[in-house]
């Protein structure tokens, strides 16, 4: 499958958009992921929760191709993306963010968005020299779209700044907006609310709901249960690298196993007991 094919491969239109079965990943003697199996429903916001060390980030790394699994399969729609090159997965429509925001620091804020869209004419030397109008038109359209996204995310005034000059919260927004620019079908967010102030949590929550409204499926690792309760349709609980339960948060609060493994710990932490 070439990169060009990948950009047009649909993620299907029926069934779960992301399906992983029996994922395992060990580091030395430690099983970070130990048979995780779950489906991510299409066009929903799903939270991936669990205690520290449950293997959440490792699962997201495997789903996005940043890490190879030892066994198990991952399907994006009908396409088997198990251990596929991460750039190919991204071009199939699965984007991600990181727990600690990452930016292309040597590029401007605007340029960070302009590298995100899938296959473009301007990637080819031939097109640059022999189809300059097409390249220019595409670039103009991309700049318009990037500008619109930057306005939405409140980064427009910083568009010409080096990305590395942004504050932590701004980098978080930049990372999300770069993902949005790629028009993903699935967006994996690794703790998007971590380390940001309450006002920004509100804003990011709103952006995630907007993504859903535009047909994007979101899978987010999140510890803030208020946020999960408010914006997530579905929850997957991981513990010791396995899927402990899936369902709505209100249902999971009644699940003793989940309460013992995670929710009790979080509720106690938040109430100070």
């Amino acid at each position: 499958m070439t990169y060009k094919d990948l950009s047009t491969t649909p993620a299907g239109s029926e069934g779960p958009i992301l399906r992983c079965e029996g994922l395992t990943k060990a580091f030395g003697g430690v099983n970070a992921v130990n048979g995780a199996t779950f489906d991510v429903p299409r066009n929903k916001i799903t939270a991936l929760i669990g205690p520290n060390g449950a293997g959440k980030t490792t699962v997201v790394n495997i789903l996005s191709g940043a890490m190879k699994s030892d066994s198990g399969t991952v399907h994006l729609g009908s396409t088997d993306v198990t251990n596929m090159d991460r750039a190919k997965i991204a071009r199939l429509g699965l984007m991600r963010t990181f727990q600690l925001s990452r930016e292309l620091g040597g590029l401007s804020v605007l340029e960070n968005l302009l590298v995100a869209p899938k296959v473009q004419a301007g990637e080819s030397i031939f097109n640059i020299f022999f189809r300059p109008r097409l390249v220019k038109r595409e670039e103009r359209q991309n700049i318009e779209r990037a500008t619109e996204i930057l306005r939405t995310y409140g980064l427009y005034d910083l568009r010409d700044n080096w990305a590395r000059e942004l504050s932590g919260g701004q980098k978080k927004l930049l990372e999300i907006s770069r993902g949005v620019m790629a028009s993903p079908s699935v967006f994996l967010l690794d703790e998007p609310m971590a380390g940001v102030n309450p006002a920004l949590i509100e804003r990011i929550g709103g952006y995630i709901l907007d993504m859903k409204a535009q047909g994007v499926t979101v899978l987010m690792i999140e510890h803030n249960l208020n946020v999960v309760e408010r914006i997530c349709d579905n929850v997957i609980v991981l513990a010791e690298g396995k899927t402990l339960a899936t369902g709505k948060l209100s249902e999971l609060r009644q699940n003793k196993e989940v309460v013992t493994a995670y929710l009790g710990e979080v509720i106690n932490a938040s109430t100070g007991h």
Binding site: S64, R86, L104, G106, V115, G122, E123, E139
Partner: protein, 292 residues
């Protein structure tokens, strides 16, 4: 005074050759993150390709031969990367191992050139050169064309990096290859294109060096490599604009110094500047936030 003005003109010609070579080396280093010690030999090989097209086969005009010889070198650079360097880079995480491979490659290419073209000093077939006054400078037509090529090429590189998706992808990869991949950038393709551009620039630099010096030998690129390194480091390693500025500084300084001290110390002047840069601004005189 007259000698000083003349030396500035020579300095600008040297800086032009140096700029083409330094930008080519910097482009490749910025993307692959390892130094190609065979770059000087790429220059020589490209120069000999142009030589054959100009003198032996087709008898092309030197400027046409330069284009085809350089493109040939670009294609060969892609092949060398695919067959040799890329497999090593994939196998070993540390750039040091690939650096050693490029050392070996340098010796192989040098000896291939010796075996095919011999050790004789050769020169391109060019029209008779008359010196012309350009402002206060005295320059031959060839020297003026070499400077024009460098200026046009630097502008093209600037436009490529700043305004095209390809250039932005190259800068993204240079900045953070892992994140570039996660963003969907086809890093293998970008690497191939970079090797093609770097190889083509090496071929161009080798040929214009032969034109401006009036002769070429198998070792001419290798000798020039150290000056290229000086320009790249003085400008700021990995920075394309730094490489351009470094080339101007080193090119001018080496030639202007020749009007005050013995010309055989020109290389020493380049190294003195390099050492001073490493002592007082190791990141390079023009290093700034952002690589390109």
């Amino acid at each position: 005074m007259h000698q000083f003005v003349l030396s500035i003109a020579f300095g600008l010609v040297t800086a032009s050759v140096l700029a083409i070579a330094s930008v080519g080396l910097s482009l490749q280093f910025g993307i692959t993150n390892y130094v190609n010690f065979a770059y000087g030999d790429f220059m020589a090989l490209g120069a000999f390709f142009s030589y054959d097209l100009n003198n032996l086969y087709l008898h092309l005009n030197i400027w046409v031969a330069l284009v085809f010889g350089s493109l040939l070198m670009g294609i060969l650079a892609v092949g060398i990367n695919r067959a040799l360097l890329s497999p090593f880079a994939r196998k070993f995480d540390k750039p040091f191992y690939v650096l050693i491979v490029t050392f070996g490659l340098s010796l192989v290419i040098l000896n291939v050139i010796y075996s095919f073209w011999g050790a004789n000093i050769r020169s391109y077939r060019t029209p008779v050169q008359y010196v012309k006054h350009v402002g206060p400078f005295l320059l031959t037509i060839n020297q003026m064309i070499v400077m024009a090529i460098a200026v046009v090429l630097m502008l093209l590189v600037h436009v490529l990096l700043k305004t095209t998706r390809l250039g932005k992808s190259m800068r993204a990869m240079s900045d953070n290859a892992s994140l570039a991949m996660t963003s969907g950038i086809d890093t293998q393709r970008i690497t191939t294109i970079t090797w093609f551009l770097s190889g083509t620039m090496a071929g161009l630099a080798g040929t214009v060096l032969g034109i401006s010096e009036g002769n070429l030998t198998p070792a001419s690129g290798e000798l020039f490599l150290f000056v290229i390194f000086a320009a790249v480091i003085v400008g700021g390693v990995g920075s394309i604009y730094g490489a351009m500025a470094g080339a101007l500084i080193i090119g001018l300084a080496t030639e202007v110094s020749a009007s005050f001290i013995n010309a055989s110390y020109k290389l020493d002047v380049a190294f003195a500047i390099l050492i001073l840069t490493l002592l007082f601004k190791p990141s390079g005189v023009f290093a700034r936030s952002g690589k390109a």
